[in-house]
């Protein structure tokens, strides 16, 4: 019962944090520089790892699909399978998991450290709301970079699949056939669905990171615990939300 109460208390605090942050939106011009800075730290600096991982996932997906479909003579649809999977599911998911592990953990560590070392208290006494100064720039930034990272992830996944199809002899699907299959069933609304999913994942992950960081109490040891909690909560939230968003968008 106590655990349940704590869970609802935590979720309530996260929702309130988001509401309080977005009530500060009129001050957005003042936080433009910090938003760009956060977009750089979270987005630009993640491009390489997103590209590598997506390429790898796309390649493995094409290889598995090829090994299964080639014996039954359906290897021409590998492109469709990889294309759809990357756009609607794996692209947003990979990027969200990377953001949780790479960006959200850093945000939690930073905010938890600021809380433990009274920097948050210092902001409050200066009458600078942490929601405006720390949370809103991070939330706006994630809304900016998630679609970009997701599109990069999708594209690299497709390319990974194409490379495998072309160069793995047992599959042997030409690049033209592969990308024709990608295009055959893919349309713009499906891409939009994938981007909406990515936006929701990113927003929730960064909100969890900020809320966990700002609720940290105690000493330096708690900073490590907060980072672990933040990543675990983020992954649970991503996987939990994935089903419901997919169902809602389908």
């Amino acid at each position: 019962m106590k655990q349940l109460y704590a869970t609802f208390d935590w979720i309530g605090a996260a929702v309130l944090l988001a509401v309080r942050a977005f009530r500060m939106l009129p001050a957005a011009p003042r936080i433009l520089k910090r938003t760009v800075e956060q977009a750089f730290l979270g987005g630009y600096a993640s491009i390489t790892i997103v590209a590598l991982l997506s390429f790898s996932i796309g390649a493995v997906l094409a290889l598995q699909a090829g090994l299964t479909l080639q014996p039954v003579g359906m290897k021409e649809v590998i492109g469709t399978l990889v294309g759809e999977a990357m756009v609607r599911e794996l692209g947003p998911l990979i990027v969200a998991i990377l953001v949780a592990g790479r960006v959200a953990s850093a945000i939690t560590a930073e905010l938890a450290s600021m809380k433990v070392y009274q920097e948050i208290d210092a902001l409050v006494t200066m009458n600078i709301p942490p929601e405006r100064f720390l949370v809103l720039p991070r939330l706006l930034a994630v809304l900016l970079y998630m679609p970009v990272l997701t599109m990069i992830g999708i594209l690299m996944g497709w390319i990974g699949g194409a490379v495998v199809c072309k160069y793995v002899a047992v599959i042997g699907v030409s690049t033209d056939v592969y990308f024709n299959a990608v295009r055959a069933y893919l349309d713009f609304p499906k891409l939009v669905d994938g981007l909406i999913k990515a936006e929701i994942f990113g927003f929730v992950v960064i909100l969890i990171a900020c809320n966990t960081g700002l609720r940290t109490t105690g000493g330096p040891r708690e900073i490590g615990f907060a980072v672990t909690r933040s990543v675990v909560y983020s992954l649970v939230a991503i996987l939990g939300l994935d089903y419901f968003i997919t169902k809602a968008l389908s």
């Binding site: 070392y117 208290d121 009458n127």
Partner: protein, 278 residues
């Protein structure tokens, strides 16, 4: 009981340049009535009632764990009281909406400087965020505060590059840039060598003299309390045990207070043995 004559007021090591106090910033008073603060089952402050006058240096002393810093956080509006009220110029400091009505600054024990910002940016943050001036005006304001605290050479450094004493001075400079009407200090001389502690003490006195700012100091430092304070409150086990001028404090005969103010080292029967006997 202290029988020595009170030490003469110290002469500041570096006299700050005289500046007229900001027109809109008049010192403010604090009224605390029946303040009680509990954390779960533990009551840390019990029924504190006192009044701090505008422009005075008010020191809160007491043994470790007596609730001094908790009281300071309540005055700063960082925590809500369990019972009772705190009013700064008649306003509740814990309500964000009232924070615009008076300028309050808190110098934290460990400085609480923003580690990701340089010293200059730490000082410029408040005026920039509140748009108190244009860029040039804010720069002038920050440089003036750095000069007053003899920190001109530290402007481009990060807090991690500073010594403990410099961090305290930067924290005071950051508070000064806010042009506060009420300035709270949490253990401003702790962890400092005696010379630096004396320097900080002089700075507190000088800032009050120059800016007529109401100063509330939480400290264990007997020299600071008895030298520059107008009045001293002694907290023990969360209760207000004494509220006196430094002279009145020396005249007190309460053995617990005199033992706290003038601890004697007794090697024949060390204090920990007395505690064990209890």
């Amino acid at each position: 009981m202290q029988t020595d004559p009170p030490p003469p007021p110290p002469k500041p090591a570096q006299t700050p340049a005289t500046h007229a106090p900001p027109a809109r910033h008049q010192p403010v008073g604090v009224e605390i009535a029946g303040l009680t603060k509990s954390f779960g089952p533990q009551t840390v402050l019990t029924g504190i009632t006192l009044s701090i006058r505008p422009g005075e240096i008010f020191t809160i002393m007491g043994p470790s764990g007596s609730g001094k810093s908790v009281l300071l956080r309540q005055i700063a509006g960082l925590d809500l009281p369990t019972a009772g009220t705190i009013r700064i110029n008649g306003l509740d400091p814990a309500r964000p909406a009232t924070r615009d009505h008076f300028a309050l600054a808190l110098v934290f024990q460990a400085g609480a400087l923003f580690n990701s910002l340089t010293v200059f940016d730490n000082l410029a943050l408040h005026p920039l965020e509140h748009r108190l001036d244009n860029r040039a005006g804010i720069r002038a304001r920050v440089l003036r505060a750095l000069k007053i605290l003899s920190l001109e050479n530290a402007a481009r450094k990060y807090p991690s590059e500073l010594s403990g004493g410099m961090k305290k001075r930067v924290a005071i400079a950051r508070a000064l840039v806010m042009e506060p009407q009420i300035l709270l200090y949490d253990e401003p001389t702790s962890e400092l060598d005696p010379v630096m502690a004396a320097t900080i003490t002089e700075i507190i006195a000088t800032l009050r003299q120059e800016y007529q700012v109401t100063s509330i100091v939480v400290s264990h430092d007997r020299d600071l309390a008895l030298t520059i304070s107008d009045r001293v409150a002694i907290l023990m086990r969360g209760e207000l045990r004494a509220l006196e001028t430094p002279g009145g404090l020396r005249a007190l005969t309460d053995p617990e207070i005199t033992d706290f103010l003038n601890p004697k080292i007794d090697l024949a029967q060390p204090r920990y043995q007395k505690m064990e006997a209890l």
